[in-house]
């Protein structure tokens, strides 16, 4: 079960990396959200996948029994929310970039690079 789970996470991670390496911004955004999901799966696994018993320590016992560690589940919840927020911001930026540049190919988005570019022919004056 754990091995299968690990392969699933690895597969997602691989897909994410492949997408992030794309020159197209939207594919990159999707890739980053895949990566976030893959990391969440790994976080989840950090608490081990066990039986459905509640994570309560029996009276007098020092350690948790057969149930899964609940803390990573809380971490995953937080990470999902944060990942969602950052992905939305990235998507909003991509939308603004599309409206301003009429392209989303990262090698054609050059306005930041052109601002004060030392290789540009003439001195540009910013107001």
């Amino acid at each position: 079960m754990s091995v299968l789970y690990a392969f699933a996470a690895a597969g997602l991670f691989g897909c994410g990396v492949y997408m992030v390496l794309s020159r197209h911004v939207v594919r990159m955004v999707l890739g980053l959200s895949l990566l976030t999901t893959a990391v969440n799966l790994v976080l989840f696994q950090a608490g081990r996948i066990r039986t459905a018993q509640p994570p309560l320590i029996a009276e007098g016992a020092e350690r948790l029994g057969e149930s899964a560690d609940p803390l990573p589940q809380a971490l995953v919840l937080t990470a999902i929310v944060i990942g969602f927020a950052t992905t939305v911001i990235l998507a909003a930026l991509a939308l603004r970039a599309w409206r301003g540049h009429d392209t989303l190919r990262s090698d054609e988005l050059r306005s930041a690079q052109d601002l004060g570019n030392p290789l540009a022919p003439g001195p540009d004056v910013d107001h």
Partner: protein
Amino acid sequence: MLADGLAIWPVVIPLGAAALTLLLRRWPALQRGVMEVAVAAMLVAAALLLARTTSGEAIVMKFGGWDRPFSVTFVADVLSAVLCTAAGIVALAVAIFARADVRARRRRAGFDPLFLGMLAAVNGAFLTGDLFNLYVWFELMLVTALGLVTLDRRRAQIDGALRYAAMSMMGATFMLLGIGLLYGETGTLDLMHLSATLAGRVPSVTLVVAAYLLLAGLVLKAGLFPLFFWLPASYHTAPISIAAALAGLLTKVAFYACLRVFVLVFGLGTGTAVVSGLPPLFALLAAATMLVSVLAAIAQVDVRRLFAFHVVGQVAYLMMGLSLASQQGNAAAIFYTVHTMLVQTGLFLSAGALARAAGGYDLRVLGGLIREHPRFSVLFAVLALSISGVPPLSGFWAKALVIDAAFRSGTSGAGWLVAVALVTGFLTLYSMSVLWTQAFWRPRTREGHIARPIPTAMVVGVALLAACTLGLGLAIEPAVRLSRVAAIQLGSGATLPNGVTSVGTARMPR
């Protein structure tokens, strides 16, 4: 109870004020007033924290009434308090400068809440005692910084922010993965408890992978060699007050996280190092970053881009201190962090003042500033000499301390590292003198230009930071003593009076 509660004020004040300024969005003047009061109060809180912790005892605050390591904690030791105070000074200078640079339109666009939110995140990262909590503060920092960079909604800003966001999210992913693996291996996220759990443990594959993943994430966020290109691609597009705040705060927070993770958690240089092989890698990263960034800086003609590359170059000196794996190296890195926070912000702010006076950032058209603005020129010279490492300014002592620590550490590659550091220092001086001759010394090249005045608020903001670097250089003895205390405390995490050494975890056996 208030005694414990002091640790949270540098976060609560800006966070509360951020909410308040958001409500006052229609009244820019009121927004500005609230922001300025909040920044001043935050600085006072940080200074109180520093006064309380200089004796070497950490203030620990536990949330939710749980005992460590089950609760999320805020831990204010000397290192945290010193960096919070430096961040407070930086924020104050930026807030003063922004009076002249950030007008009502930018305030309506949300400058104040975003700036305060970023400050809360920076202080939160400095004060938290929990690794996952640290990650959350990093994300808040990123989100607010993105809002600030794109404040004017210009094309270049959107483009720059896109690059910044994508790379930073990548870094955050690596960090989170490292944190997850570390938790899976140790069953705790409390930094002190991690340190105690890992001390003397035989390294496993998971631990090594976690360490390198955290390194990748933090190197990206700190802007070191192979992964720094997002920084000069985005900082120069931001409004200049914001670029100054980012330059002074964000990469240093990432370096601070490096200190906590590698010295405290992984025991680098404390005799109980869990993962071996890190110091030579750090040294390599530092040396490569220094050379690449300073050479790139020399090629620039836009003042903002030039300073952005110097931001990268200065972080490399911090990494050099860390790579020595010695208490002295850590102390030098801590002193350097404070110095570079003040000076980088000062340089970016003076770039803003310079552009206000001359109408642009392009070195090819600047000129004649020493004749038109002699007093501002002196302030700029102080900052430029400080970053180049000229005595008696803090930059000289920072470099001297790092190099001294390198010679004393006795590591085999120390000589090479020192040589690279000295060459970089010389090239930094060269880069600054080119800037000085072109923008200040030579007569103005364009005909018909009217000299424009620099607003008082801008001069005061720059003067505050110039005075700080001079003061830090003159009061070198107490400053060095304090950074030593901070380094000792950092390295001895597991044996601190407040440290946790005996509490078990709820993790089941594997």
